[in-house]
């Protein structure tokens, strides 16, 4: 009888440990649109990068997997006499699969030294749009010194100081290729990050195809050249529209909207009109093709654009810092994959070495620099410098993130940070439950062995 009790107690104890092992880490992490939370199924994505330059220009080539081709952003869908907007940003993927794919690269020349150590993390201040604790107004990426106080998104440094910081090079160049809003005119959006994520001087490559005064689109496809006035909603959703056909409303090729053109339910017009970017904002040329589940995008820009307060000027034999990001699977906002910072050398040893070539176009080899992109969650720069981060003192000591963390590790931490309150509660209860279980097992063990001894 005592053996049965002893065996039973051990079996219960072991069984509880086994159930604990099998079920740990479940029951907390789940999508919660109310809190702007949507966790991607895949936490890391590979990105391949090449770079090359000649006397005038530098070229970057990017390749990454993407199951679908995100060449549409927001669109207008005709239904029962009205045009309905679809494809807007939201937590996680757009349910209709309509939101453009992107690749972005932040670039610095050493003027923002924290960027070389911590990459894009330094641009994630408190209050950013898309965070659970987003500010009441739209706040975009910004650099720490553009605010008087760390963590205070609305405590802006004085204008004179911001201007001085800018002329001292305290900004990041942002090359932003957009599958719908820039690629159709073979450009990338030339932007920068300083007091906010802003476009360079000039005009963007996109504007809005909506006349709010008369509540109708401004332009439509030219049936003479495209073969149709509109695309079809079902075709777009099913991915039956290719890059070989006319899918974007290019300003010069589109024609004024005709309300009497016999519109049918399911007719679709892009909500953006695409045109070449103007001035500094149109500095970056692009070519992006999707095939066999991969994007292959090449960006090119003058080494010296002549716009030093918008762009980082590159020089032969120079070294720089870069970090990358992609959007895929119809996601926008913070639902992207990012990289750690990498060094870029123009014919100099670096993580990514740009090779020098003679001619107008580089001859790409099969040698790539492999980058692991990861889902960053809602980890902000203020939180990394606070007591919730065990490595805050390492940041103060200027230890680079790559010395401590891998992309995979950061992806896990990013997800956990989104549920930090809930996970901490469950962890504490787990700790306590384990101790009580061990104690109770001790009581059972003690009693059954006592009985044996007494018997």
């Amino acid at each position: 009888m005592q053996n049965i009790k002893l065996t039973g107690a051990f079996a219960l104890f072991s069984g509880a440990l086994l159930v604990s092992w099998v079920t740990h880490g479940t029951g907390v992490v789940r999508d919660d649109p109310e809190r702007n939370i949507s966790i991607p199924d895949t936490l890391t994505v590979p990105l391949q990068v090449q770079a090359s330059y000649n006397d005038q220009d530098i070229f970057f080539r990017y390749r990454w997997p993407s199951a679908s081709m995100g060449i549409f952003h927001d669109i207008l869908r005709y239904e029962d006499g009205s045009w309905i907007t679809e494809g807007g940003g939201m937590p996680g993927p757009n349910p209709f699969g309509v939101h453009e794919d992107r690749v972005a690269m932040m670039l610095d020349d050493g003027s923002v030294p924290e960027f070389g150590r911590y990459g894009g993390y330094i641009t994630i201040g408190d209050g950013l749009a898309g965070l659970t604790d987003e500010a009441p107004e739209e706040v975009t990426k910004y650099l720490p010194m553009t605010r008087n106080t760390l963590g205070q998104w609305d405590d802006m440094a004085p204008d004179s100081e911001l201007a001085q910081l800018r002329s001292a090079g305290y900004f990041l160049d942002l090359w932003h290729w957009r599958g719908a809003r820039s690629n159709p005119v073979n450009e990338a959006d030339d932007q920068n990050v300083g007091a906010g994520r802003d476009g360079d001087a000039g005009e963007a490559s996109y504007t809005t195809n909506w006349d709010s005064d008369i509540s109708q689109p401004r332009v439509m496809f030219d049936i003479a050249s495209a073969g149709y006035r509109a695309l079809n909603w079902d075709d777009v959703q099913a991915g039956r529209v290719s890059q070989e056909q006319t899918y974007a409303l290019i300003a010069d090729a589109a024609v004024p909207y005709d309300p009497d053109a016999g519109w049918q339910n399911g007719d679709l017009l892009p909500r953006r009109v695409i045109r070449p970017g103007a001035s500094s904002r149109g500095d970056i040329r692009a070519e992006g093709r999707w095939a066999d589940g991969y994007w292959d995008v090449t960006l090119a820009r003058a080494l010296d654009t002549g716009n030093p307060v918008d762009d980082k000027i590159l020089q032969d034999l120079g070294t720089y810092d870069v970090a990358f990001a992609i959007h895929r699977n119809a996601t926008g906002g913070r639902w992207h994959y990012v990289s750690l910072p990498f060094s870029l050398g123009l014919a100099r040893e670096a993580d990514i070495m740009a090779t020098r070539f003679v001619g107008t176009m580089p001859q790409w080899s099969d040698t790539w620099s492999d980058v692991t992109l990861f889902y960053p969650g809602q980890v902000t720069w203020p939180s990394l410098n606070s007591a919730v981060h065990g490595g805050a003192s390492s940041i103060a000591d200027r230890v680079p993130v790559r010395a401590r963390h891998s992309p995979e590790q950061l992806a896990y931490y990013g997800v956990e940070h989104e549920f930090r309150t809930e996970i901490r509660r469950q962890w504490l209860m787990t700790l306590l439950a384990g101790i009580l279980l061990i104690g109770a097992f001790g009581v059972a063990l003690n009693a059954t062995i006592v009985s044996r001894k007494g018997a």
Binding site: T23, G27, Q426
Partner: protein, 185 residues
């Protein structure tokens, strides 16, 4: 305090590992060697618990509570350290309370299995501590293959916590029934 914790923690680890070795040997050997192991066992276990408690308290002061309870590796290290200390306290109590009687019949094999679980707990605790100071081992890869990514917090869902609560109550009941039977018998 981190450096002191690293120094101190070697004592309970060594004492608990030797204790487990003593249990393994004693479980298979009733001879002179096994008897010698059993005589040394309570010393190692009690010293291990004392040194473990000291190292645990020093460890708690390495990081502020806000930091320790906010980082996955910190949480995991503390969880496993708490369980290890509780677990070896249990073994020390059982051996101290019952003496050589624990080697009679089935209970010797229970002790053998418990020592095995203890080695695993202390091994995981040490591995996580290594991660916290940047010294990685392949043990974390082994844990990953068995289903636990050490960069994620080890926590249980409510249902499992409830199951453990029930098991805890049943174990207490077994203990109380056993005590009553022993007293009345």
């Amino acid at each position: 305090m981190a450096a002191y914790h690293v120094v101190l923690i070697h004592f309970p680890i060594a004492l608990w590992m030797v204790s487990s070795l003593c249990i393994f040997i004693r479980a298979f050997d009733d001879g002179v060697l096994g008897q010698a192991m059993d005589r040394a066992l309570p010393v190692f276990l009690v010293l291990g618990v004392i040194m473990g408690a000291i190292a645990y308290l020093v460890g708690l002061s390495v990081w502020p509570w806000e930091t320790l309870s906010s980082t996955p590796l910190g949480r995991n290290h503390m969880l496993m350290a708490s369980w290890s200390l509780a677990y070896f306290t249990l073994l020390a109590f059982i051996r101290y309370r019952h003496g050589p009687a624990i080697w009679q019949g089935l209970s010797r094999w229970i002790m053998f299995l418990l020592a095995g679980i203890g080695v695993v707990l202390v091994g995981i605790t040490g591995t996580l501590g290594g991660h916290l100071v940047g010294n990685y081992t392949e043990v974390s890869e082994l844990l990953r293959r068995f289903g636990w990514e050490v960069y994620t917090t080890y926590y249980l869902p409510d249902l499992t916590l409830a199951i453990i609560g029930v098991v805890t109550l049943v174990l207490l009941a077994i203990g109380l029934l056993g005590r009553n039977r022993s007293t009345t018998g």
